[in-house]
């Protein structure tokens, strides 16, 4: 029976109010009936750029140990991205013994821990396919069971063929788990459409958007991994040359690793693009002070205060510090 026919049948049965079978069916399938599927549209009228079938055969496969699809899926994409790692190395980083599974936030954090940018895709089936088409395997959280009886599972999407309504996963103990797009979407939707790519910092996800991407890079700054942060900010700046956040991040990464001359150059460039941008003026003031040029530092700090903004307390502090130095 086709899924469409099953759909119709479930509706018919649920309308037969006192039929116990109908009630059961309705209960079971309520979740499935709730909204239309993107898969239907994608397979009937595939977008031109996704019309060709794709399969990333070089993506490795790690058959999972009991409960450990998290480490297996993560090792799959990390190995693809050039990190030499095995699932068993990741167990201590993402596995929760009492839950018999791994949390999404820890999957993302662990990929970052290995120097990869964890980018959560927009909750959109087409975004998943576009990443695969660009050559990036996608970790997805699926609910293999039902909304009221969830069986959470991580798998990696490595291919699709819209003409034939197929999706290829590295999943569990199956190297090539081939399912229909509709089935995939049902299971993915029950997992709240969570999908992650683990990118080498110099490469952007195909569907990256400016602010979500910059937010995905920020944690590297917080853990002072300046090398990785700089590469990722540089990639972002190349894609979005107008991005204040990307350029600021580049400057801050240069400052963070002690490359003050480069930091100063970046802040100046940012200021010619956005004159009077106070955070850049403040950081340029700090940078000049680091290079021993307190006069220039004082001037930029004053300009930052004049420009003002929510960070005014920081600018005032910068000016005070620099004047203390000059006074000595």
């Amino acid at each position: 029976m086709s899924v469409a026919a099953a759909f119709k049948k479930s509706h018919d049965l649920s309308s037969a109010r006192y039929a116990p079978g109908g009630m059961l069916m309705a209960l079971l399938l309520l979740n499935g009936c709730a909204a239309h599927l993107q898969a239907t549209k994608l397979t009937t009228t595939p977008p031109l750029e996704l019309a060709q079938s794709v399969e990333l055969e070089q993506v490795p496969f790690y058959p999972q140990e009991r409960y450990q699809c998290g480490p297996a899926a993560l090792a799959t994409v990390l190995t693809w991205s050039g990190v030499a790692i095995k699932p068993e190395d990741l167990v201590a980083e993402v596995y929760l013994p009492q839950r018999h599974g791994s949390l999404q936030v820890e999957m993302a954090a662990a990929a970052r821990h290995h120097g990869r940018v964890s980018y959560i895709l927009a909750p959109d089936l087409q975004a998943v396919l576009e990443e695969v088409r660009a050559g990036h395997p996608v970790v997805v959280l699926l609910n293999l069971g039902l909304s009221w009886y969830p069986r959470w599972h991580y798998a990696v999407v490595v291919g699709f063929d819209l003409q034939r309504d197929l999706l290829v996963l590295r999943s569990g103990t199956e190297r090539r788990d081939v399912i229909s797009l509709e089935l995939f979407e049902r299971m993915w939707r029950r997992g709240e459409r969570w999908a992650l790519v683990a990118m080498p910092p110099a490469e952007l996800p195909a569907t990256a958007q400016e602010l979500p991407y910059l937010r995905a890079v920020l944690p590297f700054e917080q853990t002072e991994d300046w090398e990785t942060a700089a590469k990722a900010y540089a990639a972002a700046w190349q894609r979005w040359p107008e991005s204040i956040g990307a350029e600021m991040g580049l400057g801050n990464s240069a400052y963070g690793r002690g490359d003050y001359a480069e930091a100063a150059e970046i802040y100046r460039r940012l200021l010619t693009q956005y004159p009077g941008f106070a955070p850049a003026l403040n950081n340029l003031a700090q940078t000049m002070a680091k290079m021993g040029d307190f006069t220039a530092g004082e001037r930029y700090a004053e300009e930052a205060i004049a420009a003002g903004g929510v960070q005014n307390k920081v600018y005032a502090e910068t000016l005070r510090e620099i004047r203390d130095h000059i006074g000595q």
Partner: protein
């Protein structure tokens, strides 16, 4: 009564110190405006978020240990989480989806899921082959 007050004060002091130390992890470089502030320009929100982050860190660490993670590993795993991830995990480690696998299903459920598998609504048993149209 007086000793009680000292004890309370002492405990508060220790807690305060812990939180201060924890929240000190965030600003990586004094006097600089971080990229985070440029992207999400709201200082008041940031200050509150920082305090929450410290509380969340402690909460998530305790929950990870309760879920069977080795205390030392828990420390490192919490350190790897970003502020936003901490916020998502705090209080929810026991209820958030945890992707694992599909073994250990009771008989009744087995039959129900076998049925839904065959219908093409679920995908639990590899031996149920999906017909692809």
């Amino acid at each position: 009564m007086k000793t009680m007050r000292y004890v309370v004060r002492g405990v508060c002091g220790v807690l305060l110190m812990t939180f201060t130390m924890l929240s000190l992890q965030t600003p990586a470089y004094a006097g600089m405006v971080g990229t985070a502030e440029v992207i999400d320009q709201q200082q008041a929100v940031m200050d509150r978020a920082q305090l929450l982050t410290a509380l969340n860190r402690e909460d998530v660490r305790a929950q990870l240990i309760a879920m069977g993670v080795d205390p030392k590993a828990a420390q490192e795993r919490v350190a790897a989480l970003s502020d936003a991830e901490l916020q998502a995990a705090a209080g929810n480690v026991q209820t958030l989806p945890a992707g694992g696998d599909i073994l250990g299903i009771a008989v009744l459920i087995f039959l129900v899921l076998l049925f839904t598998d065959i219908m093409g609504y679920t995908h639990i048993f590899p031996f149920v082959k999906k017909t692809v149209h």
